[in-house]
């Protein structure tokens, strides 16, 4: 069966029946997962999902809001909307992406250099639909067929050979959510083309023209954030309760008193966390508080609407939503009159605020400069404002490079400078730095669990990262007495790695732990009386 999925053609996207990939031939994992039998099986999709949604790409369903039309009229209306959206990608409505998209659409030589760079394609052992050019070639062919003179005149001679029906549209939309937008493919393209960016452009047709986006990123993502202040649904009063709890809990666990400074006007630093940290990993904001206090930084958190959640899911699927969120965040910073915004451990928030917002509004409208926490922390380590006892972190540590921070912003060395100073057994993954593999949770996958999508993340998009982790700890992996720490300075990466370690029982069986970089810094602080990590306390 596997070969059938490797021979799929772009024209098969409009096929009425069957899957285009059944994911029945995944890349093997390194030891000990080559024979320990701990890899979880896929959960079978329920047949009724396919009756209402599109599960015909590979059995998974990402766009839960995209319902199968019940009548021909509904299907025709959907086609009209899709074509309008496709056309707008190449009109001035899309000026902010017109040049890069036009270049990618025009110049692809289909040399497939990008395929070998794609972690999803490699994880699926070469199933055609995950090839970075597959979905973009479908888009190219449809655009040619409906909107170019050559396509209209010469038809299939120019490649304009795909029929447009519900299956085509739905599968194309789904396929855009099989790409983590990590842009590793663009890095190797001999022409400099960007199939990752193009996958996001497909997502934009669905969201910005057809009003279709996965619930976790839109309705329960940007919309919830603009409505309540956070994509987690955390309101201001709930935030205040949570912060109080973190202060008390930190004191109980570590004997260290912290007090989160709130809404401090004119502070030097407004620290922006992914609000998921407050809920899922409270030790992360607490670690920031300990470090900033010890370094003597004049800092604050905002409790203003959207001012306490750095996430911006818009950058994954919708330019307008991205701008709505970004501008609200800058507004919160402006109100406080802070000197700078510092983004905490959240990769996509880094990119959204520093790189994305850079050309959403001019510097006056943004009002406050913004930077990553990593250079600031590296400076504190370098100049001795933070003092460490590295022996506290004397266990194997490896570093995951979040794509948004590293490949897409060029922040590579500060985190390494920190780790070299505080973690004596630090070792790199292979590949690493700007050549890293995505964790598998990028572009929304980390929070997308509708239907069976979590399985895709755990077994396919996160597969190469899991293999990297196993390889990084190859010598110690099978010894559960040795703590092994995966340092992931990004909330969504951390969540994905948590899910990987849980699904493959790597923590339970092999003592592979995970967390951010600030927790590791606090654990290694000379001034700490007790271990900061609970897993060390247990020892």
């Amino acid at each position: 069966m596997a070969m059938e999925y490797k021979n799929v053609r772009t024209t098969d996207i409009s096929r009425r029946e069957g899957l285009l990939s059944a994911l029945d031939d995944l890349a093997p994992l390194p030891a000990p997962y080559d024979k320990n039998g701990l890899e979880p099986a896929f959960k079978d999709p329920k047949p009724e999902w396919a009756e209402t949604n599109c599960c015909s790409l590979d059995g998974f369903c990402a766009i839960d809001t995209m319902k199968r039309p019940e009548t021909q009229e509904e299907e025709d209306e959907l086609k009209v909307k899709f074509l309008k959206g496709l056309e707008k990608l190449f009109l001035d409505a899309n000026n902010k992406y017109l040049q890069p998209l036009s270049l990618t659409m025009e110049y692809c030589a289909k040399c497939n250099t990008c395929s070998e760079a794609c972690h999803v394609y490699k994880a699926a052992n070469g199933d055609e639909i995950y090839r970075p050019i597959f979905r973009v070639d479908v888009l190219r062919k449809l655009y040619k067929k409906y909107f170019t003179r050559s396509g209209k005149l010469l038809g299939s001679l120019t490649g304009a050979d795909i029929d447009l029906d519900w299956e085509t549209i739905a599968r194309l939309g789904e396929s855009a959510y099989r790409c983590n937008l990590c842009r590793r493919c663009a890095q190797v393209c001999p022409m400099g083309l960007d199939n990752g960016m193009a996958a996001r452009e497909i997502r934009k047709i669905f969201s910005m023209e057809m009003g279709l986006a996965p619930t976790p990123v839109h309705a329960k993502g940007t919309q919830l954030q603009l409505k309540t202040g956070s994509s987690t649904g955390l309101t201001r009063p709930a935030l205040l309760d949570t912060l109080e709890f973190i202060e008390e809990d930190t004191y109980e666990r570590t004997g260290r008193k912290i007090k989160f400074p709130l809404d401090k006007k004119g502070a030097d630093v407004l620290l922006f966390h992914n609000a998921g940290e407050f809920m899922a990993w409270p030790e992360n904001p607490a670690a920031f508080a300990i470090l900033l206090d010890e370094a003597g930084v004049d800092w604050t958190l905002s409790t203003d609407v959207v001012g306490y959640d750095s996430v911006n899911y818009g950058i994954w699927y919708d330019d307008v939503q991205a701008k709505n969120v970004a501008m609200a965040q800058f507004e919160a910073a402006r109100k406080l009159g802070v000197k700078r915004i510092v983004i905490g451990e959240c990769g996509h928030a880094h990119k959204a605020a520093v790189v994305g917002a850079d050309r959403m509004a001019d510097s006056e409208e943004r009002g406050v400069p913004v930077e990553s926490f990593l250079p600031m922390m590296a400076e504190f380590v370098r100049n001795g404002r933070l003092k460490f006892d590295p022996s506290k972190n004397d266990f194997p540590v490896t570093l995951h490079d979040p794509c948004n921070i590293v490949r897409q912003m060029g922040i590579v060395e500060p985190q390494r400078e920190i780790l070299r100073k505080i973690a004596p057994q630090f070792r790199e993954m292979t590949p690493h730095g700007v050549d890293n593999y995505c964790c598998g949770g990028g572009s929304g996958f980390a929070i997308m669990n509708s239907y069976n999508f979590g399985d895709f993340r755990t077994k396919v998009s996160g597969r190469m990262k899991f293999a990297q982790i196993l390889n990084a700890f190859a010598d110690e992996m099978e010894n559960p007495d040795i703590v092994k720490y995966v340092c992931a300075p990004c909330s969504n990466c951390k969540g994905t790695i948590r899910d990987l370690l849980q699904a493959y029982k790597a923590t339970a069986r092999y003592n592979v732990q995970y967390g951010g970089i600030v927790e590791l810094m606090v654990n290694g602080l000379a001034s700490m009386d007790r271990p900061y990590f609970e897993f060390l306390e247990a020892e």
């Binding site: 707008k88 009109l91 036009s102 040399c111 001999p190 022409m191 307008v320």
Partner: protein, 287 residues
């Protein structure tokens, strides 16, 4: 006007057309509005040794207060590696590189050969003619071999064949036809030096039919290349310089700010149907 003269005028106009159409394409890309940042690292212009590992100015604390370190030499070296050696393909897909590089290098040599032929109209000592002949043979050999290898690979490789459209085959076949008719003409029919002298001085008479066919196809190719994806010599510049390596921040007084303001002064005429601007609500303050 004779056929010979018609073909001579056509080929000269086609050469001019090649440059004019290529410039028009470059103009089109150059005058698109400023786009969102899509910088991707490593960016070779990043100074202070950062380009070597993919770092950027964003590694500096309070980066907006620090002077940018730009390494134009490293940027130029990187560009030259890509232009002269197609480095990325060499690194990431060596098998295809042999064919692609042979063809591209052959075309570069042929371009040089064309210029040398033009010079030969006015100046043609024996040693020069010999040297130009050698250059021509090398150019034809490299580009023809590369072209054949690329065609064979496209036809025989399961994946390449699947994604290659008839028009893309046509591109390679057109190039190959021009090369083969040229090689046949210059090897077996007449001297390229004589034809060049006649064509460039618009005094062509009694050109052999195969030469006329070759020149006509060459002219068609000159005009067709800038209109097809073979114009990637234009696009590639923008892909790297204006997209992947464009990481200049939008700071007060910067050129980015000026371009950003220009764009803002020309709002879009079209808009998206399902995307609305939204401000946050005050629901956050509720318990």
């Amino acid at each position: 006007m004779t056929v010979d003269m018609l073909v001579s005028v056509f080929i000269l106009l086609a050469m001019f057309g090649f440059f004019a159409l290529s410039l028009r394409k470059a103009y089109k890309f150059a005058h698109m509005q400023i786009h969102a940042r899509l910088d991707l690292y490593p960016v070779p212009k990043e100074g202070g040794g950062r380009a070597a590992y993919g770092g950027s100015y964003l590694e500096e604390p309070e980066w907006w207060t620090k002077p940018r370190k730009i390494d134009r030499v490293n940027e130029a070296v990187d560009i030259m590696k890509e232009m002269l050696f197609i480095k990325k393909l060499f690194v990431h897909q060596r098998v295809l590189w042999w064919a692609s590089y042979s063809m591209h290098l052959g075309i570069y040599v042929m371009l040089g050969w064309s210029v040398l032929l033009l010079v030969s109209v006015a100046w043609h000592p024996d040693w020069y003619v010999l040297a130009v002949t050698v250059v021509g043979v090398v150019g034809f050999a490299l580009s023809t071999v590369g072209c054949v290898l690329l065609l064979v690979r496209r036809v025989s490789d399961r994946v390449l064949a699947k994604y290659t459209t008839p028009l893309e085959y046509f591109n390679i076949v057109l190039l190959l036809t021009v090369l083969l008719t040229g090689a046949y003409s210059w090897l077996f029919v007449t001297s390229p030096f004589e034809v060049a002298a006649q064509v460039f001085t618009l005094s062509a008479t009694d050109l052999p039919p195969i030469v006329l066919v070759h020149l006509a196809l060459l002219g068609i190719m000159f005009l067709y290349i800038p209109l097809s994806k073979m114009s990637h010599y234009v696009g590639k510049f923008f892909c790297f310089h204006k997209v992947l390596w464009d990481n200049d921040p939008n700071l007060p007084g910067s050129s980015v700010e000026r371009r950003f303001e220009d764009a803002a002064a020309h709002p879009a005429h079209t808009g998206w149907s399902a995307a609305k601007q939204q401000a946050p609500t005050s629901e956050s303050s509720k318990g």
